[in-house]
Amino acid sequence: MTGRMEYLTDAELENMLCDIEQNDMVQAPPDMQERILETLKCELHKSQSLEAMEQEPFIQKTTEQLISKQDKIIAYKRYRFRVMTTVAAAVMVVFLLPRLENLQQPQVDFPKLLQKQEELIQSKYATREEILNRKGMLETVLGDVNIFADNSKWNLFR
């Protein structure tokens, strides 16, 4: 026997075979064949399913690509619609907003307004000259009538 745990040489192997065949042959377990064939079947099935799986991702990927492409087209169209509506709304806001503001608030001409107010005030309230003129007119109408109370006589009533 050569060294430690080294593979047997051809001569050693032959000697061992002769020894076993002559003296030391043992019967293998009865279900050995059945188990080997079952293991083989499992391994073949695994390798076949692995091959199928290797192809499957391609098929899956192709299907996914098709599906996602359609989805992507639809998504793109939706996005485009949203962008366009947003732009249109922005344009509308830019142009219409000033007009809307004008409609809500009427234009006020302050100098004219002040002038009008003064005219109103002037027209509503008589001036001093007008009052005095009216008094003069009353005197001519009423004659020699003292329409104003005499203060000296008024003191009597106090």
Partner: protein
């Protein structure tokens, strides 16, 4: 078609050489159940490399695969064992003293297996003796007893597990 032909060749090889290959594995490893597994691996490797099989030297080719697999197993098993201080000292003192490959008599191994089978409790004992020592399959054992084939298969599986535990305990104790 090729697959079927290969399977037929494999079945023929198994019918012809399974006892020989099992005996080689048993002799080199000294463990019944390890020999079982290595025999299985040998035939599966042979199936995967059938194109390399020389037509006039099938026996030697299979024997070579089996012996190499056994050596690989023993190397891996040796690596798993942590050497003690005594082993290291011994190897330092005697560097040229390499441990030779141990070959065990198959008859001794089968005798140890028989003791382990006898130590099992019924119904596993009878099933283990019939299957592992007498070489009967599940159908033959079921025909001899009043039990179904599936029950016998379950008993064989359970007996194998119990034997592995007790068999390996004894090997460790040695």
């Amino acid at each position: 078609m090729e697959g079927i032909d290969s399977q037929e060749i494999l079945i023929r090889l198994m019918n012809q050489y399974q006892n020989l290959i099992f005996s080689i594995c048993l002799k080199l490893t000294g463990d019944y159940f390890v020999a079982e597994d290595l025999t299985q691996e040998t035939f599966l490797a042979a199936y995967n490399h059938l194109e390399e099989c020389p037509k006039d030297a099938e026996k030697a080719w299979l024997a070579r695969i089996a012996s190499n697999k056994c050596i690989d197993y023993l190397r891996a098993a040796a690596r798993r064992v942590v050497p003690t201080e005594e082993d290291e000292i011994h190897s330092l003192e005697n560097p040229s003293d390499e441990e030779p490959l141990r070959q065990v008599l198959n008859s001794e191994i089968m005798e140890e297996l028989r003791c382990c089978c006898n130590a099992l409790s019924p119904p596993y004992r009878e099933v283990a003796i019939a299957h592992f020592l007498e070489g009967k399959n599940a159908k033959e054992i079921a025909d001899g007893s009043q039990t179904g084939v599936n029950t016998i298969k379950t008993h064989i599986r359970r007996a194998r597990e119990l034997l592995k535990k007790s068999y390996r305990k004894e090997l460790l104790q040695e």
